[in-house]
């Protein structure tokens, strides 16, 4: 089985979000970039397929040279090879088109992506990718088993979960649950050394549709101070929720 894990390079979850250039760009000053958490779960599941079922695991990212440390980290965690499509990922449709090209060239059976990137929160790349390639797709995937060309995927639904039977080739939008939190790996020294020798192919983008573009950003208005209610006067909270907030 040949697996491609799609990795989105995103600001660390603790990052302060600011905008620059007249609020037209995300300000990366002082921001640490990481593997998108949803992709980290997926990558870890891919490592399981590698170790238990002999799968080959490649990782791909669509991004400029600054995304290389993140993709190297994926190699250090254990991916066999990496591909970077050398262009800025500003639109989900465009990114999906670039990844579709990578998948066609590499003839992958299983594409593991994440449910969403935590930066632009598109939640669209894996589903568009699957559709462009006419592959099966399961989103918000929290468990994945593969047996030959059959796959059983569990997805999270509102208030529970659903088990889905399907076949490869398959694209999933993975998330927390795909592996245990404790299975996530931090690259060790040996992994980092080995990653330096692994192949990182840089390919140029193909032509695609720039379906959307963000013309401006802003931040939520600052929040007013919290209204504190005395612990001895819980009735006051009920009154406020009813009369002021009007939520009960």
């Amino acid at each position: 089985m040949k697996i491609l894990v799609c990795i989105s390079n995103v600001p660390d979850t603790t990052s302060k979000i600011n905008f620059t250039d007249g609020n037209t760009k995300f300000d990366t000053t002082g921001v640490q970039f990481v593997i998108n958490p949803n992709d980290e779960f997926g990558l870890t599941r891919a490592m399981w397929f590698k170790e238990k079922q002999g799968a080959t695991v490649h990782v791909a990212t669509v991004g400029g040279p600054s995304s290389e440390p993140t993709i190297r980290k994926a190699l250090a965690i254990g991916a066999d090879e990496a591909i970077r499509v050398n262009t800025e990922p500003t639109d989900g449709y465009f990114v999906a088109q670039q990844l579709a090209e990578v998948v066609k060239k590499g003839a992958y059976d299983l594409i593991i992506a994440g449910r969403e990137s935590i930066d632009y929160n598109g939640g669209m790349v894996p589903g568009i990718l699957a559709t462009l390639l006419d592959m099966n797709f399961v989103n918000t995937c929290i468990d994945l088993q593969v047996d030959g060309s059959n796959a059983t995927a569990t997805r999270e639904i509102d208030g529970g979960k659903e088990k889905i039977a399907t076949t490869l080739p398959l694209v999933i939008g993975g998330q927390k649950g795909l592996v245990e939190e404790s299975d996530l790996r931090i690259p060790n020294m040996r992994g980092i050394m080995m990653a330096r020798k692994k192949v990182l192919n840089v390919v140029e983008p193909v032509e695609g549709i720039m379906a959307t573009n963000d013309i401006k950003f802003d931040k939520p208005a600052p929040k007013g101070a919290v209204k504190l209610v005395d612990a001895a006067n819980v009735q006051e909270l009920v009154n406020l929720l009813h009369n002021e907030a009007k939520v009960i």
């Binding site: 930066d119 462009l132 006419d134 639904i157």
Partner: protein
């Protein structure tokens, strides 16, 4: 050339978000000088859409679609969009919808703006405001393709009543076997309880509750309020509560009217996922807990004293206002 809206139902009844997206679609149709057409699957309530400005419903009634199937639903929606020559498609942000939308988008070569929080700022070029960076910012996004898909953030636009005459037409999309190449084999879901996605009120517990045995009062509080229960990430990681209750940046998003956080510190990843809620209440022993900076109302106090008291006061309140 109408605006197409996908109105989601469950067991024949529309979800609340269906009326919200219908309201939104009517507004877009008005701005564009056209009408709003809905597509609904096995719904018994199609006429209700007329209360929110929809003038036509494409009624798909098909036993094969009784259980949600993203690929097949997406196929039907794309086919309806073609038939109606719809240039704008409005959808919700539920997890089922977020599953099928990228498939529709891929089929139609459409541009998609998810998590949109307001009516379009402009029709030409088509520009919408949406949340990004897990609610820490907003983007004003222009959609450049001929067909545009707008995902409306839950509970952001609200319901706008606008009574119109509604025509209901049967619509039978043509399916092939490949539309059913992913099959639901088992659904394991709580029944008869509000879910995080649909509930107006969410009551959430964190590590401060110390033990899964202590969740009784969280459930009781949720019961009194008709609320869904939720939890922080460590609580689900430790197996105190099911994963489907975990909320936050890497869990379920919450966009309720009222979110009550009990024994939750308010880590940045937690807040990112719940901050779309309109009113936030925190109950925590530590006045320095970051949640107090994000909340509207707070009680500095011990959950084991405050929550039972709150349950009593709410019961009295409910009895008086019944």
């Amino acid at each position: 050339m109408s605006v197409l809206v996908y109105t989601e139902s469950d067991n024949g009844s529309f979800k609340k978000n269906a009326y919200e997206v219908a309201s939104y679609a009517s507004e877009v149709a008005k701005q564009m000088g056209t009408t709003a057409t809905a597509i609904a699957f096995n719904s018994n309530e199609n006429t209700n859409l007329g209360n929110y400005g929809v003038t036509k419903v494409l009624n798909v009634s098909n036993d094969q679609l009784k259980t949600f199937n993203a690929k097949a639903y997406a196929h039907a929606i794309a086919e309806a969009a073609k038939n109606e020559e719809a240039k704008v498609i409005i959808v919700s942000s539920s997890s089922d919808t977020k599953f099928l939308v990228p498939i529709v988008v891929g089929k139609l070569g459409a541009g998609y703006a998810p998590n949109v929080v307001a009516a379009p700022e402009n029709i030409n070029p088509f520009t919408v405001k949406r949340t990004t960076f897990s609610n820490k910012g907003f983007a004003h996004t222009q959609i450049n393709t001929e067909i545009k898909v707008v995902g409306v953030s839950s509970n952001s636009y609200g319901l706008v009543e606008n009574s119109t005459q509604v025509d209901i037409e049967d619509f039978n999309p043509t399916f092939t076997a490949s539309d059913f190449s992913t099959k639901s084999v088992e659904i394991d879901k709580v029944v008869g309880k509000a879910t995080i996605a649909d509930a107006d009120i969410v009551v959430s517990g964190g590590r401060g509750l110390k033990d899964p045995e202590n969740w009784g009062m969280i459930e009781e509080l949720a019961d009194v309020l008709g609320a869904a229960t939720a939890c922080s990430k460590p609580v689900s990681d430790m197996g105190w509560r099911p994963h489907s209750e975990h909320v936050g940046q890497t869990g379920k998003p919450v966009a309720s009217n009222l979110y009550i956080a009990i024994g939750i510190s308010g880590a940045i990843q937690h807040l990112a996922g719940v901050s779309a809620s309109k009113t936030k209440v925190v109950i925590n022993t530590d006045p320095e807990a970051p949640f107090f900076k994000a909340a509207d109302y707070g009680i500095v106090g011990d959950a084991f004293e405050v929550v039972p008291e709150l349950i009593e006061k709410l019961k009295e309140f409910k009895a008086q206002n019944a």
